[in-house]
Amino acid sequence: MAKAKAFFLSFLFSFLALSFLLATLFGSVYIPLGELFAPQGVYKEILLDIRLPTVVSAALIGASIAVSGAVLQLLLRNPIVDPYITGTASGGAFGAVLAYFLLAFGLPFSWVIYFSPLVAFVFALFSTLVTIAIGRRGGVYGIVVGGVVVSYLFSSLITIMLVLIELRFPQVPPLTFWLLGDVQVVGWEFVVTLALLVSILLSVGIAQARKIDLVSISDEMSYARGVNPSRFRVFWVVMISLVTAFIVSQVGIVGFVGIVVPHIIRKFAGGSATTLVPFSALLGASTLLLSNVVADGALGVKIPITPITAILAFPVIVCALVRGVANQGA
């Protein structure tokens, strides 16, 4: 059994390396393989200032969304949730867009950049807690329905605000494309902060994996072992909202990776957080890297990333709905 796990792990690592290489070569500009190791001129600039930060960001974003999905699925005892379904991402996006209204108070544009992740976090947390509150009364589907309703509310508010922003501040670049996920990163500032957040998420996730498992099985068993499951859930929801909000405020909403990836890992390596968290990080990174190759112009045109991940996710979610959840009799 341990052998199969080691084999799967080495497969995931090789897959990640391959995805990383492909994502570095392909994009809106193709960088020839020869230029990769000794880049010169314009290739050097593209590679170091745009391509590499973008690719590293994509990998980190994929990893963190997949890990967030895996942890949420366990703690909320629901195999089809992720930060997108729970409304976390929509709330965060709403906050990020709302921050642009600060322009109305005459604040400089550069302030908005720093302020928007904060506002995004507040609303990401708020929307997630509302979804969970709805889900408490409605069981497995309650949380999904609650998330859809909450997402719908915030998407509507975003649409209204976008229209207003376009009217009042024509100098702000259009945000519609960004909203559906636009992983295009220039420079390393964002990457460093993101890397820090993701490594905290991942290391806490691995350190607390057994505890996450326990809380997923039973609240009574958790209390008996001195773990307050409600407090534990809140801790994780806050942390996931923080990371999701930071991501959303920079690259928009990246959906579905958090559902698909843990689902596949669960099939092949079991659903304990001890494997689900680290393995999901690896596969999540690869999934977003490859999706971003398509999004970043491999088909000759730039496409937002969520439509691509959504198409990838469709069969998996249908499968989970028809078999997984149905079998649990929930």
């Binding site: 057994r210 498992d213 099985i217 039973s218 068993m221 008996a224 079991g270």
Partner: protein, 218 residues
């Protein structure tokens, strides 16, 4: 061990009304109809529901076998190890005792109801000296129920067991009868009689003796 003056209100209803119970070594049995406050009492002991006043003098490492739990899609071995830093070795004696060795690598969610319950019982036995069980035999077939009874008879730990199975009286060292959030009777299981149980369940209960063993029939 002593639990004194517990008062618990849940959504404006007094679920435990000044509950004072003594706990003995061996099997402490909590009997009572649905909604009598058995589960709430167990939850108060682990701190899941807060009591307004009163005190809990409970010693030892607690562990809990819940009546309902999530059908986790993880290996049995991961279910056993969940919540601790413990290694499998610490669980193996109870795993073997309950014949669960072959299940270790199986997916917990694919086990039968009885096998799942026994897994959680093995975990609780390995982790606690004060083992709390909420309806450990509900939904179990005769063979698996007998295994649970065997555990309660043979394992030297303090158990608090809430159940609807009156036959547990034969293996209990202390019986607590609860109705509408109050303690109707507590004492030796030998002193529990037909009249008490009839009052407890508001339905006639008969006591019969077969081969020197006492059985209660509704």
């Amino acid at each position: 061990m002593l639990i004194k003056g517990l008062k618990v209100k849940l959504s404006n209803k007094l679920v435990l009304d000044n509950v004072t119970v003594e706990l003995k070594d061996g099997v402490n049995l909590i009997l009572g109809p649905n909604g009598s406050g058995k589960t709430t009492l167990l939850r108060a002991i682990i701190g899941m529901v807060k009591s307004m006043g009163g005190e809990l003098k409970v010693e030892g490492e607690k562990s809990y076998v819940p009546a309902e739990f999530f059908n986790a899609q993880m290996k049995v071995i991961d279910v056993l190890l969940s919540g601790g830093e413990g290694r499998l070795v610490e669980y193996l004696s109870y795993v073997d005792y309950l014949n669960l060795r072959d299940f270790l690598d199986r997916d917990f969610s694919t086990l039968s109801t009885g096998e799942k319950k026994l897994t959680l019982i093995a975990k609780a036995l390995a982790e606690g000296d004060l083992v709390i069980m909420d309806e450990p035999t509900s939904g179990l077939d005769l063979r698996n129920s007998a295994k649970v009874v065997k555990v309660l008879r043979e394992v030297k730990k303090t158990f608090i067991v809430a159940t609807h199975d009156l036959n547990f009286l034969r293996i209990a060292s202390w019986a607590i009868l609860m109705k509408e959030g109050r303690v109707l009777f507590q004492g030796s299981p030998r002193d529990v009689d037909e009249t008490m149980l009839t009052e407890l369940y508001s339905t006639p209960v008969r006591k019969v003796e077969v081969d020197g063993n006492i059985y209660f029939l509704a």
